[in-house]
Amino acid sequence: MMALRELSSLEKSLGLKNPNKYSTQGDKKVPVLHSNNGPALVGLVTIATHLVQEAKRPELLGGSAEHKALVQQWLEYRLTKVDGCHKDDIKTILKDLNSYLEDKVYLAGNQFTLADTLMYYGIHHIIVDLVIQEKEKHMNVTRWFDYVQHYTGVRHHVPPVVVLRNRVYTSGHH
């Protein structure tokens, strides 16, 4: 269901007028897209990538070869590391993303891409649970998250997370 909600939100944000038919398969409820002109597509990232192409928004998949690879990498990361992560893994995920995002606005540099959208949906349940101190500890992730949730048309099925702009805890103590 989660994946279908994401795809539904994505369709909306891409402004796709003709809705697609979906089902899910297997224990993990992997989404399947049934299309009229071609075989069914399986997998969240595959379908999402397809929708972006259908909407003629190739820039969301990255402009250069390098950016394309980064988008693919973070989409895969979302599926393999963030989805169903164990609570012990959360720390590592936040820490790694935080240092990655230190000198970047979005996951693939300075351009907003599909990777941001899907990572945002996937990591939302983790960010929601963070206390203010943890949000501050992972400042770069928080900043990125706040950008994305305010990016036009992204936030659909998930509630907004409050991000404080002023620091509550002074750095150095933690």
């Binding site: 909306k12 809705p19 038919k21 089902s23 597509l41 690879a69 393999t80 240092s99 659909h156």
Partner: protein
Amino acid sequence: MKLFVSDGNPHCVKVLAVLEFTGVKCDVKHVNHEERVVPYLSRPALPALLLPSGTHLFSPNSICQYLIELNGQESSDIVNQWLEWEATELQPAVMQALHMVVLQGKGADTPRVLRGPLSYLDQSLSQRTTPFLTAEMVSVADVVLWAALYPILSDSSLVSGNQTLQLWFERVGMLAACVSAVQTVLQGKGLKAESLKTYLQRQPTTHHGQGQVQGRGTQPCNSPEGGGDDDCVLSEEEIQSAVVTWGKGLTDLPMVPERQHPILPQEGKRNVLVTSALPYVNNVPHLGNIIGCVLSADVFARYGRLRGWNVLYVCGTDEYGTATENKAREEGLTAQQICDKYHAVHASIYQWFQVDFDFFGRTTTKKQTEIAQNIFWRLHERGFLLEDIVEQLRCEACQRFLADRFVEGTCPFCSYPEARGDQCDKCGKLINAVELREPTCKVCSQTPVVQSSKHLFLDLPKLEAELEQWLERSTGSGDWTANAKQITRSWVRDGLKPRCITRDLKWGTPVPHPDFSDKVFYVWFDAPIGYLSITANYTDQWEKWWKNPQQVELYNFMAKDNVPFHSVVFPCSLLGAQDNYTLVNHLVATEYLNYEDTKFSKSRGVGVFGDMAKDTGIPSDVWRFYLLYLRPEGQDSAFSWVDMATKNNSELLNNLGNFINRAGMFVSKFFESCVPAMALQQEDKRLLAQVGWELKQYINLMDRVKIRDALKCILNISRHGNQYIQVNEPWKKIKGDETDRQRSGTVTGVSVNVACLLSVMLQPYMPTVSHTIRQQLNAPPSVTGTLLQGTGNFVCSLPVGHHIGTVSPLFQKLESEQIESLKKRFGGQQPKTTAQPATTPASDPAAQTAVNGADAERARELTLAVAEQGEKVRTLKGQKAEKTVIGAEVTKLLELKKQLSLAEGKDPEPVLTKGKTTAQPATTPASDPAAQTAVNGADAERARELTLAVAEQGEKVRTLKGQKAEKTVIGAEVTKLLELKKQLSLAEGKDPEPVLTKGKKK
């Protein structure tokens, strides 16, 4: 550009093969597995590609895609799909298989985890007419999948069947690029490569990968919101040792002796003295007070007794001070009468909450005077008291000095006329009461006069060095909560100042010094001494507890606002008295509990107060459970009625209660109330180990007073238990042949023993429920003491042939109407905040789309609904459900499809005429906001939410049915589903009737 690879790592085969295949120019550097090439990742990740921009790629598949892209080839949908499948489905299975085969030396056959993915790949290949996965030509997908499978498929012993797959594998393997990549990384040896083994040994056993490959989808319906708590990876040894423990039974474990008063420290025992902050007598405690001190301390004391420690838990009401005097004036009683009245109120509240004090006393006693004066004199003799003159306001009419909050006047800074004695509400500045202009007494409105008065001060600076030494020892060796340490540190860091210990009051412990005969001790000096005097009222031998730091461990429980008095001020009094006092070893402080996102407020009538909890009709144990479940450990938390109902219904009723009840019911229904014989199989042993692991965690956490976290372990155990019953289906097997019936017996026997263990672990949290379970199971009395000894012993405590009692349900559902009315009752005059997301149609782009093209929106919803319904039908068919059932669902599906066609603007068949005779919605309760919106017109946003809600609820019902849950449970969920469907119809502006009648006929 630089590519980093390591020996023996199959992922490096992928990238090297693709690199050679594309002919892209790139340096290759061989590093070892531990090398952290990617600077932003905390664990080493290889292969890694350093891009021209200076960024690193660490995903092997993305590196391959990048190389292909540089070569001018775009990846298609189908290539993406295979790469996604490789990363999410194949890779976890391959890693697990390699782990088993290479490291554990198992399997002469295809490892089970790989069978699914391999046959899927085989089928996909056979359905194609092309020699490769995606086209006539080899693609990046072929190389990536081939490399992933190389170690497994190159070993002929592990391959069985899957001929198309074999042919494809050989075809790809003949590429020169593949041959040389394998040579470089695995020395052409596949599984037998030493380097592969080394590589695998360095890989952390990730939690997912192991747990989730089989785990998903088999979770019972009651899994928690978080999910994914497939926690521990159990080793063979752990399982074996769990089995050994299980076999020990109850016999050779020590008994816990009955409590005998007075409890005194004993040689060779762990002597634990537990106190909770003394509640102030003139207030009725609210839920926050209760969880912050008495309840938390009670759970820990009960736990300690179960562990066989020698525990004494004392508490009492703090009764002296201005506030009491004032309350007495308000109610027209004497201070003593007020204390007597409210002491009884407190005592009865705590009794209702089942707080099991060894003694609940009070501070207005002779012992208090004796001990406080003794400490005072000792401090005085040793020169730790200072004298100083203080200027204070005194009201001659009332004959007393005015505490800051009993005086009002004009602010000296902003001339606000109603400034308080301590602070101006207008300008916010702090005020010294004597600086107020035109001060008046708040009680009699007379003008007070300034009078100088001599007071005594505790010389904290003189004791600072000794305090710091002690603090270092205590916080270093004890379990101080983080907030307690932090607050204490900030007090000490800012430097200590002398603190006044006397007050010009009547209602207090008199200062024995002749120069101060009209004064009493200030409460903060006096109140903590209450712990000692209350103990002294309990036993004459109180000094064995309080002047015995060698034998006694002291735990103080409190909310965080009380920390400085327990960690700095009171220890200084005791250190200065130099009488070998027992000082706190473990200071356990909670954060605050809020009420529905606001504060508890007696004056506004907001929140639940101790005396009202029992009027709600919700059992004391459920209150305890919920308060402990949200115990503010680490951060503030908030009491919420809706959440309380949810936790009760999901965790207590569906998870814990459901498991314990089923386990007991199986014994009584299938085995004539006698625990059946158990022949443990691997799966049962695994459960024993899993439960044993959670028990160990529980003990670990409880020993460190992580009360809330330990509660989660209990719920995890029953979750494991439910899953175990679900998978093994003892209610089906009991009807089978001899082997099946034996299996049913084993599962039932193990389950009922888990239930018995749970009853003991629950005891600190829910004493009545715990007792009821033990009664229902007729558990031997010794279980309470024995299962929690040492690091925990999950033994078979209800052996074969044990006769259990009568089993009945433990919990009741909390209905939403009940909760709504309670919420209103305790909400005060606050405007009710509804939990509706604040989406205004104008600002929400989604809603705008809906207005512009309602049909597209509607079609999207229907598409989802069709997908859901289609899935449902397939599932039913797969389960070989009854034809009528399938038929009904197919009808629904067709109906949905018709509606979808309509929404898409296709052939309008006469579907709509069906339900549209009178489009007047049934009378809906006016209070239901959903219904109201619906009446106002088709609200697309709302409808979309409801569509999803219906789909989810439908899924829930199916799951329950699949699990053969109790009829009443299913019934309740079906009702909810029908209600949602009705709301959906309304939101879509349709007549809800047809849906309702459909659901009702049967």
